[in-house]
């Protein structure tokens, strides 16, 4: 699990947009979203002692 990966994907997506590769930029954004959700699942492990 590489914590820096979301930012690496962000840099790649920005560069794709700068060189007018719109589809590639959106594709990398989708990867970024998947990584953010996976990393959140990995880190959100502490049980919440709360009731709603």
């Amino acid at each position: 699990m590489v914590m820096a990966l979301p930012f690496l994907l962000g840099v790649i997506a920005i560069i794709c947009a700068m060189v007018t590769q719109r589809r590639a930029a959106i594709g990398v954004w989708v990867l970024l979203v998947i990584v953010l959700l996976a990393w959140l699942r990995y880190h959100a492990t502490d049980p919440l002692d709360l009731s709603f």
């Binding site: 699990m1 590489v2 914590m3 820096a4 979301p6 930012f7 690496l8 962000g10 840099v11 997506a13 920005i14 560069i15 947009a17 700068m18 007018t20 719109r22 930029a25 959106i26 954004w29 970024l32 979203v33 990584v35 953010l36 959700l37 990393w39 959140l40 990995y42 880190h43 959100a44 502490d46 919440l48 002692d49 709360l50």
Partner: protein, 176 residues
Amino acid sequence: MARLLNILGFAGVSLVLLVAFFYQLVLGELPCPLCLLQRGAFVALGMGFLLNIRFGSSTAHYGIVLISAVIGAATSSRQMLLHFKPGDTGFGSAPLGLHFYTWGLVAFMAYVVYTGILLFIETGDRREENAIQDGLGRAALWLFLLVVAGNLVSTLLECGVGPCADNPTTYFWLQG
């Protein structure tokens, strides 16, 4: 008008990341894993505005802003709930009375409302390949790239090529 508001929203994302950087680099508050994920969600959110500025407005680009804002809000909420109970002093400093993750939730929700307003102003799907950029849009784009690249470097220094400590106090790659 919508283009200017897109540039303002986009610059706002860079500003948020710069404030976080200020607290990290100047005040020495290293971000926790959930804090870094919220920064990542801001990067994802900024991509929507960037695409609007670079290629012209599109409903897909606004969708990118909204989906990213919801992911960021979920992450902020999770961290808020960790420190929800009375007596818990929270994680990190609390500028203007709120901790960063609480400000994060406020900002993500504000971006949802902001995007709603922008969608009212937009006259329709006007995607143009390689839309002409003005100086302001170009400057905002380069600032965003610089801030995100800075986060990449600082996160590598803090965490190395792996997960971060839950409560980091030193930079993993700078330890003697």
